[in-house]
């Protein structure tokens, strides 16, 4: 039989899980940052409007 290319399966598994978590955490942070910024803008606008 020919040699098997890429003997180490676990490196692929780890890579797949790593990319999954990087994406999830990254997007999670993005959403929460957007949320915080928006809230901040709204508060500022309300404060300006109340003056």
């Amino acid at each position: 039989m020919p040699p098997i290319a890429g003997q180490n399966n676990w490196s692929f598994v780890i890579a797949a899980y790593a990319i999954t978590w990087i994406t999830i955490i990254g997007y999670w942070v993005h959403v929460h940052r957007t949320l915080r910024d928006a809230q901040h803008d709204l508060d500022a606008a309300n404060a300006a409007g109340a003056k």
Partner: protein
């Protein structure tokens, strides 16, 4: 002066207990992945590579539900004209694009050791890539238009047409090339794998619901802030 321009011009969704739900979802995801990895024996042919199944298949599932959401919310917006539908469609599209991108990368990582190539012009791969590009186009259109009314109408039209295109793309590329296996269903799987997959489906769905909801919340608050400051600027004359 009449009543000061307040955020009541546009109802701002409340965070409520969503943050709690979010942390729970994240914890549940860690658990379900640990459970799936721990309980699944190595596959007969793929060995440990089979474990990628638990993140790849649920991620691609999110792609289908977000696309359905974009279609439904776009139609609702065209019909009723409520801002919230537009922003829900946009939030679904953004989450969808993120997960499609993830699915593509995971698939490449899985494809290299099993098929021998990072990428092949197979039906499922190609149609997923096209879907990703449709999402990207939708989001780009939104980014390039500033006026909310126009942005809503146009992106809703693009969303509906894009969704109509999905089955046709799928069919055309399936005729063109098919290498990917048929859809895995619980019936084609040993029970040892099935439970792990189902629990991960649930975890990913919860995560998508959470992310869409929070993204929508952010978009609504941003819209309210915009309208408030506009009203304040007009009132200041």
């Amino acid at each position: 002066m009449t009543a000061p321009a307040s955020s009541s011009a546009i109802p701002v969704p409340k965070a409520g207990s969503w943050p709690l739900f979010g942390w729970f979802t994240l914890a549940f995801m860690v658990f379900s992945q640990w459970y799936a990895i721990a309980t699944s024996p190595a596959d007969r042919d793929m060995g440990d590579l089979q474990k990628i199944l638990y993140v790849h298949v649920p991620a691609s599932w999110i792609m289908s539900i977000t696309f359905a959401l974009v279609f439904v919310y776009s139609l609702l917006y065209l019909w009723k004209g409520k801002d919230s539908y537009d922003l829900l469609a946009a939030s679904s599209a953004e989450v969808g694009a993120t997960f499609v991108g993830l699915t593509l990368v995971q698939g490449m990582i899985w494809g290299k050791p099993t098929w021998g190539v990072w990428w092949t012009w197979d039906a499922r791969l190609t149609s997923t890539l096209v879907l990703f590009l449709v999402f990207v186009g939708y989001l780009a259109l939104r980014a390039f238009i500033d006026e909310p009314q126009r942005r809503g109408q146009w992106s809703a039209a693009v969303g509906v047409l894009g969704s109509i295109n999905v089955p046709i793309v799928w069919m055309s590329v399936r005729w063109w090339r098919t290498l990917h296996q048929m859809q895995s269903t619980p019936q084609t799987m040993d029970p040892t794998y099935r439970n792990g997959l189902l629990i991960n489906f649930l975890a990913f769905t919860l995560l998508a619901v959470y992310l869409i909801r929070r993204r929508y919340e952010a978009a609504m608050i941003a819209r309210a802030a915009e309208m408030t400051s506009q009203a304040a600027a007009l009132g200041g004359h």
